[in-house]
């Protein structure tokens, strides 16, 4: 472990983060909302701190970053982003306590969308903009962004990329890691711009369009309105956002291939087919379940069901209706969606379709083996066999995911939260969804959770976004042993 290198990189990351604060600075100047000086201070502290870190550490050879150093850089980089990212909230006085501000900031960067804010509209525009921007930066990944911008990260970049990208298998789209990162960001920016354009054309204010665009593509779910998308009660906006949530839940490598002219790529990809099919099935189920009970027209039921199921399964967390009032089946479906998540390689969180497909196939293979003890069978995705190493790492991921979920639920209930809230708050944070059930349901928020609980949930969000291993390995004694 070369701590110099790690600190230096985190310094660079901070400079970037600081520079990105210039955007909300401009917004606050335009609206002269009184948050200008606090954002300016945050900018100076963040980039100043980054520059100091950069200059006090020795320049090193990044080409030989080890896997260990990679995970340390990514985890500590995200922690530092969460910390410096909460400065605008604290300095402007928008959020009083540091615990709350850190929670909100990490919720932003990890694209969770869980909020402790009760009266969102009262915040200065600049701060609201920063809140959305944290999600947008966190979605495709701050590390991936720096790999795209800093060409010297070449070889070491792969270790960082692997530690940050939310997928069990790492797919390089181009021979060079920096090119791969650039492509992903370009696709991301392009789709975001299209969404902002469509929302704006439909009559949403420019500020709101940008904020929602910035929070849809990363499957974040922050909204500048307390009532989230329900604030507008507008079928067009809901339609546009549903479609873009779906796009955000698809592997970005497929988008890239599609944009390059391979139009059939979505239909050919086995994971994508399962994902779309499962999503459609769940939407139909929920539509018929809520039709007649909560909504009286089939179209109205479909509109709510499609939005809400897509929002939860892609782990976005936008809300158009109080689904806590829906029948039990729909609530259970939404709750389970929090674990399912979208496709690998998307910006979504949770376990992800690919892992679930492979776990199910694994289970069936064991059954098959019972029937044919001498059978040799390899598990395939599409027509490609999946290496046993990948399968065992998926098993490891699943066990850790469930284990950490249970541990966190026990802690939350010990802190005095009710059963539903304990389960839902952890599921919604470790899955990077945002809203859950009970106290933290679609109409509630996380303010009432005790401080210790907020720290636990903050940790859960980080675990979820960095796919468990990257964070948890730092707690393993074997990692620190020489």
């Amino acid at each position: 472990m070369r701590f110099q290198q790690i600190l230096r990189f985190i310094g660079i990351l901070n400079v970037f983060l600081g520079l990105s604060m210039l955007a909300p600075l401009v917004v606050s100047l335009i609206y002269s909302d009184g948050s200008t000086s606090s954002i300016l201070q945050s900018f100076i502290i963040t980039s100043g701190g980054g520059l100091i870190l950069f200059f006090i550490t020795r320049s090193g050879d990044y080409s030989s970053l080890s896997q260990r150093e990679g995970v340390a850089i990514v985890t500590f980089g995200w922690l530092s982003a969460g910390f410096f990212g909460c400065l605008p909230f604290v300095l402007s006085g928008s959020i009083g306590s540091l615990t709350d501000a850190f929670f909100e900031s990490v919720s932003g960067f990890t694209t969770t969308g869980a909020s402790i804010l009760t009266d969102i509209e009262s915040l200065p525009r600049g701060i609201l903009f920063w809140r959305s921007l944290t999600q947008w930066l966190g979605g495709m990944g701050i590390i991936v962004l720096s790999i795209a911008i800093l060409p010297f990260l070449g070889v070491g970049g792969m270790q960082l990329y692997r530690a940050e990208i939310p997928s069990p298998v790492v797919d390089k789209l181009q021979p060079r890691i920096s090119e791969t990162a650039k492509i992903l960001w370009k696709v991301y920016v392009l789709i975001t711009l299209i969404e902002i354009g469509l929302l704006f054309v439909g009559g949403m204010s420019l500020f709101d369009s940008i904020c929602h665009g910035f929070c849809t593509m990363p499957t974040g779910g922050f909204s500048p309105h307390s009532a989230s998308i329900a604030y507008y009660n507008n079928a067009y906006f809901e339609g546009v956002i549903t479609v873009f949530m779906l796009l955000a839940g698809v592997n970005f490598a497929l988008h890239f291939k599609f944009l390059r002219g391979d139009v059939k790529v979505f239909g050919r990809d086995p994971e994508c087919r399962v994902f779309i099919f499962a999503l459609a099935l769940l939407i139909v189920l929920v539509t018929f379940n809520i039709y007649g009970t909560a909504y009286h027209s089939i179209a109205g039921a479909f509109r709510r069901a499609a939005f809400q199921v897509t929002s939860i399964i892609t782990t976005t967390g936008f809300v158009t209706s109080d689904y806590a009032q829906w029948p039990a089946l729909s609530q259970i479906i939404l709750f389970l969606c929090m674990f399912a998540g979208a496709m690998a390689g998307s910006t979504g969180g949770a376990i992800k379709t690919m892992r679930i497909i492979l776990l199910i196939k694994y289970g069936f293979r064991e059954l098959f083996r019972l029937a044919h003890p001498h059978a040799v069978r390899s598990i395939k995705l599409g027509r490609k066999p999946v290496p046993e190493e990948v399968l065992s790492s998926i098993w490891g991921f699943f066990i850790l995911y469930v284990g950490l979920f249970i541990l966190a639920v026990i802690i939350m209930s010990a802190l005095g939260l009710d059963v539903i809230t304990s389960f839902a708050s952890v599921a919604a944070t470790i899955g990077n969804v945002g809203p859950g059930f009970g106290l933290v349901g679609p109409t509630g928020n996380y303010l009432a959770v005790p401080d210790l609980g907020k720290w636990v949930l903050t940790f859960c969000m980080l675990l979820g976004r960095l796919e468990i291993f990257t964070v948890i390995i730092l707690l393993a004694p074997a990692y620190w042993r020489k």
Partner: protein, 452 residues
Amino acid sequence: MKIIIVGAGEVGFNIAQRLSEENHDVVVVDKDYNKINHIQSVIDVQAIVGSGTSPSVLTEAGIRESDIIVAATDSDEANLIACFYAQHLTDYITKIARVRNPDYMEHGDFFKREFLNIDLIINPQSEMVNSMLRLMEIPEASEVIDFVNGKVKLIGVTIKEDSPLVGRKLSSFQNIEEVLLVGVIVRGEEVIIPGGQDTIQPNDLLYCVTRPEEISTIFRLLNVRETGLGRVAIVGGGTTGLALATSLDKRNINTKIIERDSQRCLELAEKLEKVVVLNGDGTDREFLIEENVADVDIMVVMTGDEETNVLISLLGKALGAKKTVTRIGKLSYIPLVSAIGIDTVVSQRLSAIRAILQYIRKGKVVCVAPLKAEVAEVIEFEALETSDIVNTPLSKVKFPKEAIVGAIVRGEEIIIPRGHNMIKPHDHLIIFALKGAIPKLEKLFTVKLEYF
């Protein structure tokens, strides 16, 4: 430039690493998931699991946009088939194949015709035999590399403690300045591009450029007695041993070849004319003394087992062999064995890597030879009219510190340059450089040190 490498073995890996470091887009294809996983985490390349002999895998690897395919798997047939598909999937792709089977090589021209149209066939064995033969021309040197078709020689010489040069500054070589230029000094683990202030110390390995006819002058200066190539012993009569023995046979060099297997000895005896074939074990000290094998000018050790090779070489040295040449398979052994006193190491893989890299980087870069542990390189290339460096005295050119011009070749004339010499367009330059200086050199020569 985009390059597809089929096979992520040692040859494929090393080529991929070098090309990736030189900013080429590299895609590696291999059937073995573990190799792919490893290569992808260590170097910045795209790695695909799949068979290089499958057109769909090659298409996935982007063969249609690629400039070069290097087929470097362990199987000749797989390499040829990969090139065959490459030829039929894209018209203009450059194809390089590693082919080892001597039967194929005998009719290597077939592969170069329209059916496969392979641009370069690398036979690691013959590359290795050639580099050994070059070494034998100048047995006093530990390494010999040809530039400009042999008009300029690069030789590696180890300085003995009693050498008159020990302790002298390079700038004090007034009388020989125009004859020889010391390009690189290897001192233990350190590799130095020397300036005039550097002094020569005992046990330094010097790499110098010179004209072939000056070599004896240099050895006189260095107080190295030039004995010429008298007797050679080859331990191990495998295919490479036989190939080397055959070439030495043709040149009438007194050669003995030792082989453990009596059956193989008969075959060797049938194929060789004057070479003495000895049936015995190369690790047997008594045998080596009895047959007076160890007391030779060069002892070439190339049995199939590399650990045995190292031990036999050490034994041979102890028994009086003036120089040993040891065949090593694993590239990672090379730095280790030079540390325990092995003079010169040859490796099929290293030879293949060098040959492939030289070919890929042709263009304005004519020839590249990596030196010692790959830290330094000697690059031969042509100066273009558009470059800043032409028509300026060398002392005025802002050269990176870690690089030095070793020789200027202008038509038939070979200039060992000094500060006042000027580079003219179309001169061939031979430059020593540490790896780190190569990007700076690229800028300096405006033409990238790549394929245009």
